[in-house]
């Protein structure tokens, strides 16, 4: 990666980040991330079988097929409790990596991640579902995966089905569901878990207008009870109205954290500049 004009802009902005993130005493943080670096491995032409690996090792003396790059480099920020924190950035900026780090599935190479309370993801809806099972069986399975006792799941089932509007299809194997029905069930199950910190990755696009309104209501009541949402999105309009703060990620670093309107403005400017440099080269 050579130094491009976009890079220079980033460097100027890193200082501003420090000011915006000055610790406010007395405000509890839901998520505290300090100096997190994630060295990601990107594999190129990796042999996928043991046979090829052995041949590669013997014939070409090649053992290492990856290059490391920092998907996140030295990221530090806090998310106060009860906020909606938006993350924007172009593809490959590290948005999903950051969510995975907060979710706890990707341990950072350096730095610390602290989440106060439970954390749950709305990253891939219905991730633990089994297509052969029906809605009720899947609710049990997914609940058990989150260590919920069976009695508690049983109590919640009517409400989940009602919210997903699937009462009439409760005993249909979900492989016969439409994608909308599947997403509704996935959302209803995840929303019911009511975590302290909810990670959302582009899922507001599911379902029809009416269901989307319902989801937004869930988010509102979720926030009203003092919980926190971290949301990654490309629909900037939606985000600017929802988020309290937006962080702009660029090549694994935050170039801006703060006021949503400013973040979006800078994102657009940066996007424009990147495209210009790409066109010139």
């Amino acid at each position: 990666m050579s130094a491009s004009p976009a890079n220079l802009v980033e460097n100027q902005n890193t200082q501003a980040v420090g000011f915006d993130q000055a610790a406010e005493p007395g405000v509890a943080n839901a998520v505290e991330i300090s100096n997190v670096t994630v060295a990601y491995r990107s594999y190129k032409e990796r042999p996928t079988t043991l046979k090829e690996t052995v041949i590669g090792a013997i014939k070409h003396r090649k053992f290492r097929y990856y290059e490391t790059f920092n998907a996140l480099s030295n990221v530090t920020f806090n998310i106060p409790k009860g906020q909606v924190f938006g993350i924007i950035g172009s593809n490959g900026a590290g948005k999903s990596t950051l969510l995975k780090v907060i979710a706890g599935v990707l341990p950072p190479t350096r730095g610390t991640v602290k989440v106060n309370g439970s954390v749950d993801s709305l990253i891939q809806l219905g991730a633990g579902f089994d297509a052969e099972l029906n809605a009720i069986e899947n609710i049990y399975l997914s609940g058990a995966l989150h260590k919920k006792p069976r009695a508690e799941i049983k109590r919640r089932i009517p409400e989940i089905l009602e919210f997903a509007e699937l009462e009439d299809f409760a005993t249909t194997p979900i492989k016969y569901y439409s994608s909308g029905m599947f997403a509704r069930l996935g959302f209803a199950v995840a929303a019911d878990r009511n975590p302290d910190v909810l990670l959302v990755d582009e899922v507001l696009g599911v379902g029809d207008e009416r269901f989307r309104k319902k989801c937004e209501k869930v988010f509102e009541s979720f926030l009203a009870s003092g919980n926190t949402i971290v949301i990654v999105s490309h629909s900037l309009g939606n985000l600017s109205s929802m988020a309290d703060q937006i962080g702009l990620l660029s090549r694994g670093e935050f170039t801006y954290i703060g006021d949503p309107a400013t973040a979006i403005e800078r994102y657009r400017a940066q996007d424009y500049k990147t495209r210009l440099t790409q066109n010139n080269s």
Partner: protein, 264 residues
């Protein structure tokens, strides 16, 4: 991580996720038998049919050397079927559950444990036809049968350990399943299933007994077919071997844990 911590985490995870394990074992059973009219009977018919075929083929070969070949065979097929089923279903567990592992920080071997428990249910269901065959052929049911659950400990450890090693390997190498097929087939013939230890040439016995599965299967046959107790030394040797193999599996799993995310 120390060996004690590896084992401690493993058993604590099983306890911690007991609800999920129960749920997923029942799910697998329901899925397997949902669309078959014979339902759970299949778990009993399967080993029975297998035994009948093998008995028809091999009992004439073994003429005079083994009395009541069907019980002789069935008692060894029980642990083998469990082992074979567990190892095979462990291989794909990480890839199959990639979506879950991508957003939920859970111990990744829990899915392998689940398939092992599912195969235990199958093993106990297969016990019913074994007892029926014993009654039908007039084979005495020995009191040593009560020791049988004890033999399941090394069986569980060894199958789990090998299953975990292969599950890790499968994340990195897609041909793991093919290699496993070859490995399992070789093991099938190198274990005392179709034959007994004394039918093998002595020079070969020296080597094949190093495989804990050899002693485990032999021990179970002694309990169920011969009505004798397995040699304590042999039992302890196989238990130690199985604990070691599970340790290796857990070590490999722990070592590769952070790298799975790049491959799945």
């Amino acid at each position: 991580m120390t060996a004690a911590a590896l084992y401690g985490n493993f058993f604590y995870s099983i306890y911690d996720y007991r609800e999920y394990l129960k749920e997923s074992v029942f799910r697998d059973l329901r899925k397997k038998y949902k669309r078959s009219s014979l339902g759970y009977l299949w778990s009993m018919l399967n080993p029975l049919l297998m035994m009948i075929i093998l008995t028809v083929v091999f009992s004439s070969l073994m003429k005079g050397r083994v009395e009541n070949y069907s019980v002789f065979l069935f008692s060894a097929l029980l642990p083998w079927t469990y082992f074979n089923g567990t190892v095979k279903s462990c291989i794909g567990t990480i890839r199959q559950n990639a979506k879950i592992l991508d957003q939920l920080p859970i111990p990744k071997y829990i899915f392998s444990v689940s398939s092992s428990f599912y195969n235990f249910v199958d093993l106990f269901l297969a016990f019913v036809p074994l007892l029926l065959v014993m009654l039908f052929t007039g084979h005495p049911i020995h009191s040593t049968i009560i020791i049988f659950p004890l033999m399941l400990i090394p069986l569980f450890f060894f199958s789990m350990g090998l299953g975990l090693l292969l599950a890790v390997s499968n994340v990195f190498f897609e041909d793991t399943a093919h290699l496993t097929d070859v490995l399992l087939r070789a093991m099938y013939f190198l274990c005392p299933i179709l034959y007994n230890r004394d039918m093998l040439p002595p020079w070969l016995v020296k080597y094949v007994v190093l495989n804990p599965m050899f002693g485990i299967i032999e021990g179970i046959r002694q309990l169920l077919y011969f009505g004798t107790l397995p040699n304590l030394e042999t039992f302890l040797f196989n238990l130690a071997g199985s604990v070691l193999v599970l340790g290796l599996g857990l070590y490999a799993f722990n070592k590769a844990d952070d790298k799975f995310v790049y491959f799945i």
